[in-house]
């Protein structure tokens, strides 16, 4: 099975403190540590586990610039056999649809039976997977937490919904799935693994190679982020102060008053 995984390089929220920069138009990026978006990493692991059962290869692709190559290398160190960087000056400023269009052009150049993305990335939009499927006219499912093979080239997938419940669907191939974290346990990739793939050339494709027109870049973007700001605190919580004993005393009184104690 030929599987394509679309990945994104994002600031690692757990190892960074996200703050506004001094100009107030972006976050402070100087001290940030970047890595592959966590749900995308789960998607690559899922793809690798599938090809270990069925044969085939995993290809990882990202839209960006030179600095984004490092996540492609990391996923190759994990086991993806092919990678591609989709990069062009005209791709700058693309909105979600723009990114999806670029990826759709890449998909059309190959033959992929299964396309995976992570559920969402740093902007919390969770949009590229669904858009990509619509552009390609492939069936789509989001928040996928399990994938099983059926005869006849179909998949049985589970997706998570509220209450911890799971919807089960049968889906035709080729299809696009957005993968939720926790679907598997990704294997470890160490520095050594990354070094071993350090010199493998990664093809870069621009607008011309992809045969694209319209829909990407700043001009075509219908949605643009204009600035970042720190949300106003509003009322917020009443912070209790004092020694731990004093705080606990106040808290116990409050809990009693609100019916929190039996």
């Amino acid at each position: 099975m030929e599987i394509l995984v679309c990945a994104k390089r994002v600031p690692d929220t757990s190892e960074n403190e996200i703050e506004l920069n001094s100009a107030g138009n972006d976050i402070e990026r100087d001290d940030l540590v970047y890595s592959v978006n966590e749900p995308d990493n789960y998607a690559v692991e899922e793809a690798l586990e599938i090809v270990e059962r069925t044969g085939g290869t995993v290809t990882v692709v990202t839209v960006g610039g030179d600095e984004d190559e490092e996540i492609l290398r990391r996923e190759m160190a994990m086991g993806a056999k092919q990678a591609a960087l989709l990069s062009d000056d005209t791709f700058e400023g693309s909105d979600g649809r723009g990114i999806a269009s670029i990826l759709a052009a890449f998909v059309k150049k190959g033959h992929y039976e299964l396309i995976l993305t992570g559920v969402q990335a740093d902007d919390g939009a969770a949009q590229v997977g669904g858009m990509l499927a619509a552009l390609l006219d492939y069936p789509f499912a989001s928040l996928v937490t399990s994938i099983e093979f059926q005869e006849g080239g179909k998949l049985k997938i589970g997706r998570e919904i509220e209450g911890g419940n799971k919807e089960i669907y049968e889906i035709d191939l080729p299809c696009v799935l957005s993968i939720q974290t926790g679907i598997n346990e990704p294997r470890y990739v160490g520095m050594r693994g990354i070094r071993q793939v350090a010199s493998i050339p990664i093809p870069t494709l621009g607008k011309a190679e992809l045969g694209m027109n319209g829909f990407s870049g700043k001009a075509a973007a219908k949605v643009k982020c204009t600035d970042y700001f720190v949300p106003p605190m509003g009322k917020g919580a009443e912070m209790l102060t004092g020694s731990q004993g004093e705080i606990i005393g106040k808290l116990v009184d409050l809990l009693k008053a609100k019916g929190g104690l039996k």
């Binding site: 999806a100 858009m131 720190v230 919580a237 912070m239 929190g260």
Partner: protein, 322 residues
């Protein structure tokens, strides 16, 4: 201003709470317009939902089709594309169904897409200025959306408070015939209900909830002791379940249980919106967290900056003594 539609999520004949929130959001975009509800489904349950919506919506478009008896987003999307007029604005609640439906819908309708919106700052002709969050809720962003060819916008649950007001006295319009043939490459099989654990947290009026701040599975007992002393149940946020320190049935959140307690203690929980989305009914919320900047302090009633591993045992002792 284009026509605003609100897609209504419903279950067992009852509309989701978000239906009222979508009205409020629509009014923020265009105060002069009475938004139109659009509901897809089948049978008596669909009818009952449409009836209930007449109080808040000017028009309720009913899409009845047997293949939509279970809301399969792939099929619903086709139906909407055929039924909705070009260039309109569609609002949906940002949750599991919208993640499935909305991005593709925006492509098929050639409309702009803005997900998980928390606020409408301004409307300037064919441009909406909206507010979103990024980086796990740590930073807010202003987003400009060009709605000249329509828009699909998903609304953060709880971000827009339902409006008080006179009943709208809406009419139900049957649009089922406009649906056309529905085909899909994704067929619904069944829903697997999560195993109920030993404790049903949705039935408790007092909850002690733990998050990543508990740090170690061995420390869960510290929180359980507190819950026992308070006569409460112990619940948790997603990271605790992912790490397999507690059962899924104890998770509060958009992909876990929805709870409506009177009192909620959030211990070592940062306050991601997915977790808060599982808490309904505005309980008295106490947040205890080591990080004074944790987002939970914005929504809690009372906040304490402390290490829960030290604070909780002491609290348990004090409660036992009283």
């Amino acid at each position: 201003m284009a026509r605003i539609f609100a897609y209504i999520v419903h279950k067992a004949g009852v509309a989701d709470d978000s239906a009222a929130e979508l009205v409020a959001a629509a009014k923020k975009i265009d105060a002069a317009q009475a938004p139109t509800a659009v509901v897809a489904g089948w049978g008596a349950e669909l009818d009952s939902v449409c009836e209930s919506l007449r109080a808040s919506y000017g028009e309720v478009w009913k899409i009845a089709n047997e293949s939509l008896a279970y809301p399969n987003a792939e099929l619903v999307r086709q139906a909407l594309v055929n039924v909705l007029p070009a260039g309109c604005i569609v609002l949906l609640p940002h949750a599991h169904f919208a993640t499935d439906l909305a991005p593709g819908l925006s492509i098929k309708m050639n409309a702009a897409y803005v997900p998980d919106v928390l606020g409408v700052d301004a409307v300037e002709g064919a441009v909406l200025k909206l507010v979103r969050q990024e980086f796990g809720g740590q930073i807010s962003a202003h987003v400009r959306c060009d709605i000249s060819s329509g828009a699909v916008i998903t609304i953060r649950p709880g971000a827009f408070k339902p409006l008080e007001g006179a009943p709208a006295g809406g009419v139900v319009v049957d649009k089922s015939s406009a649906v056309g043939p529905l085909t899909t490459g994704r067929r619904y099989l069944e829903t697997v209900v999560a195993e109920t654990g030993d404790v049903d947290i949705t039935k408790y009026s007092v909850l002690v909830s733990i998050g990543r701040g508990i740090q170690d599975p061995d420390n869960v007992s510290i929180a359980q002791d507190l819950a026992d002393a308070m006569g409460a149940a112990l619940s948790c946020s997603r990271p605790v379940v992912d790490a397999k320190w507690m059962e899924k049935s104890r998770q509060v959140g958009s992909s876990g249980q929805t709870v409506k307690p009177k009192v909620y203690l959030a211990c070592g929980i940062s306050g991601s919106f997915q977790h808060l989305a599982g808490i309904k009914g505005s309980p008295f919320m106490v947040a205890i967290n080591k990080n004074p900047k944790a987002p939970i302090f914005r929504v809690a009633d009372v906040g304490i900056v402390a290490d829960i591993l030290e604070f909780l045992p002491e609290l348990t002792n004090q409660i036992r003594e009283k």
